[in-house]
């Protein structure tokens, strides 16, 4: 009896010992499938540190997690561009100590002073890409060139999914109705809401980026809003998957890395960012995910079919029709309300 108890106690003590051993650990919160394992291992080997990767399915879920207290748990987060200023306002992110980031010079000049974070005060760009329509060409019975395939019952070409990201999906509805992606007009938002509720009833559900593509590949759906690089990655599995930018214009976005103000291992976070700004690492990252890298010096290192792919690097005239999602300040509450109501039905 005593022996059994002491064994249990020993087990308890061993297990209760926190795993925060002598190894410094970087806690990294990122989109799913957004960084190759080998690159992470490379960093671990170089620094002797450990990287714990956690993923999120939608930016809203990520923000909710951080606001619920997880901002003390993570060192580094990859967030969509429109969240950067909002996160700074909400006290999650502190201004960058640029002195620790020599690699910033490797960035394309556009990304050294992007519209979503002037002067790169808080964030460092990770990737940029577009959001458009993904579809399986053998499952659709018509052309996929407009948001109408989602919102117009008469133009439906097959079962479709709605993307589980608030700004993108509400944005698609707004663009279809002719408004800007960043409008705060309550009437516009109300109309978008009605449109989305109707679409939801006809859809086969909501799905995050990766899930949506998996469901299309599995034949459950034919069309969905999707991110450019995800589609290219998935095409490697099934060539029937295609990507198209709708004629109303899609989204041009940047995902950026931010260092959490209250997070652990800040030094490691900076080193990781600098690591990813190195051209060879940025190229490896982009080649894996099929997204465009903001690191100018990495572009020549990319495989040729990527450099020439208009999906990865859309030409100027295409980019002109795309819109950036902007930070809306406190008006974001309007969108939150719409999204909650759409999801609650």
């Amino acid at each position: 009896m005593i022996a059994r108890f002491s064994l249990l106690l020993l087990a308890l003590l061993l297990t209760a010992c926190p795993k925060r051993a002598e190894v410094e650990t970087l806690y990294f919160l990122n989109w799913a499938d957004y960084i190759p394992e080998e690159l992470v291992r490379k960093f671990e080997r170089e620094t002797g540190a450990k990287v714990v990767l956690d993923t999120f399915e939608s930016p809203e879920a990520m923000l909710a997690k951080l606001k619920a207290g997880a901002d003390r748990e993570f060192s580094l987060v990859v967030a969509p561009d429109y969240y950067v200023l909002q996160m700074a306002r909400e006290g999650l992110v502190a201004p960058l100590d640029k002195g620790r980031l020599a690699g910033l010079a490797n960035l394309d000049p556009f990304f050294q002073d992007p519209p979503y974070d002037p002067g790169l005060q808080y964030s460092v760009p990770y990737f940029w890409g577009t959001t458009g329509l993904a579809y399986r060409e053998d499952l659709v019975r018509g052309p996929v060139d407009s948001y109408a395939v989602l919102f117009d019952p008469k133009a439906q070409v097959g079962p479709f999914l709605l993307l589980d990201e608030m700004r993108e999906t509400i944005g698609a509805a707004l663009r279809y109705l002719g408004y800007s992606l960043n409008t705060t007009d309550p009437e516009a938002l109300e109309k978008a809401k009605e449109l989305l509720i109707a679409a939801k009833a006809r859809s086969v559900g909501f799905a995050g980026g990766v899930e949506a593509l998996n469901r299309i590949l599995g034949g459950d759906a034919a069309v969905s809003l999707a991110y450019s690089g995800d589609v290219l990655q998935a095409r490697q599995e099934d060539e029937r998957l295609r990507y198209a930018l709708p004629k109303e214009g899609g989204t041009l976005w940047t995902d950026a890395m931010v260092v959490l103000k209250r997070g652990p291992a800040q030094d490691l976070a900076y080193r990781f960012i600098d690591f990813l700004l190195r051209p060879e690492n940025a190229a490896e990252l982009a080649a894996y995910t099929r997204y465009a890298t903001p690191v100018a010096q990495a572009v020549p290192l990319l495989p040729q079919e990527m450099r020439q792919d208009p999906t990865v690097f859309p030409p100027e005239e295409v980019r002109a029709k795309l819109e950036y999602l902007k930070d809306l300040g406190p008006d974001i509450a309007l969108y939150d309300r719409v999204w909650t109501e759409v999801k609650a039905r």
Partner: protein, 259 residues
């Protein structure tokens, strides 16, 4: 009538096992998608064992389960003893409080713990969401179950036995260790086993109380399913089903042996 019942039972059992058998079959399927059997392979199991994160999640699940079961069993057994043997003010209230984790849906429990930890963080600066908060959450619902199970066992015991021990000169702790506890042991063991099972299986409470690095197997399965089911998860599921079946069969065989 008998035949109808037999047929009914057979159909129900088929219904219960069909999904599980499909998963087991698919875990050996070569193809990544669809249900056409394209070839037999152990690749998915290989991929599973080569994935260090899965091992970590497995360990997390075990750590949480054993730690929380240990604490909950101790707390619950003592509480049951106190509830059965003594009268004190607030006893009725405590008994109703006990039923709340048992009766109320998981979501509410999870959410209330999330709130508690958030408020505590605001006021005291800790705890951070981590494996510890998961353990705390698990103990909370486990204690209720353990207490109820041990209590029902204690109610069956004859208090005269304890009195007899006392008449013979045994002191409180001695009586407890040598008379009460051995007699209550089947209840304690049953309660502990129930607590362990509940912890290993728990998803919802863990979902709301876990921090990074605190992922357990159920959480992993959930996020895998959300992203798109890979046969690796089928392999993991098959292993879990196999393990449960093994332990159950073991228990069954042992209990038949002992009678």
């Amino acid at each position: 009538m008998k035949r109808l019942l037999s047929l009914h039972a057979l159909l129900v059992y088929l219904f219960l096992y069909l999904p599980i058998l499909v998963i087991v079959a698919l875990s050996f399927n070569e193809g990544r998608r669809g249900v056409r059997f394209t070839g037999f392979t152990l690749d998915w199991y290989r991929a599973l064992f080569q994935d260090p994160r899965v091992l970590e999640y497995f360990l997390n699940t075990l750590i949480v389960a054993f730690t929380s079961t240990l604490v909950a069993t101790v707390l619950g057994t003592l509480l049951a003893l106190g509830l059965v043997r003594y009268r004190f003010p607030g006893k009725g209230f405590l008994r109703y409080l006990l039923y709340i984790p048992v009766v109320v849906p998981d979501v509410v429990l999870g959410v209330s713990l999330l709130l508690l930890f958030a408020f505590a963080r605001e006021l005291l600066g800790f705890p951070r969401l981590s494996l510890l908060t998961v353990i705390l959450g698990h103990i909370t619902f486990q204690v209720a179950f353990v207490t109820l199970v041990v209590r029902s066992r204690l109610l069956l015991l004859d208090p005269g036995l304890e009195e007899a021990a006392r008449d013979l000169g045994a002191r409180g702790l001695q009586t407890f260790l040598h008379v009460t506890l051995p007699l209550a042991w089947p209840g304690v063991a049953a309660g502990a086993l129930l607590a362990l099972t509940l912890s290993l299986d728990d998803f919802v409470v863990t979902f709301f109380t876990a921090g990074p690095g605190a992922t357990t197997l159920p959480l992993y399965i959930y996020s895998s399913v959300k992203l798109g089911i890979s046969p690796k998860v089928h392999a993991l599921s098959t292993l879990i089903v196999g393990l449960s079946a093994f332990f159950l069969a073991l228990g069954y065989a042992l209990s038949r042996r002992r009678i």
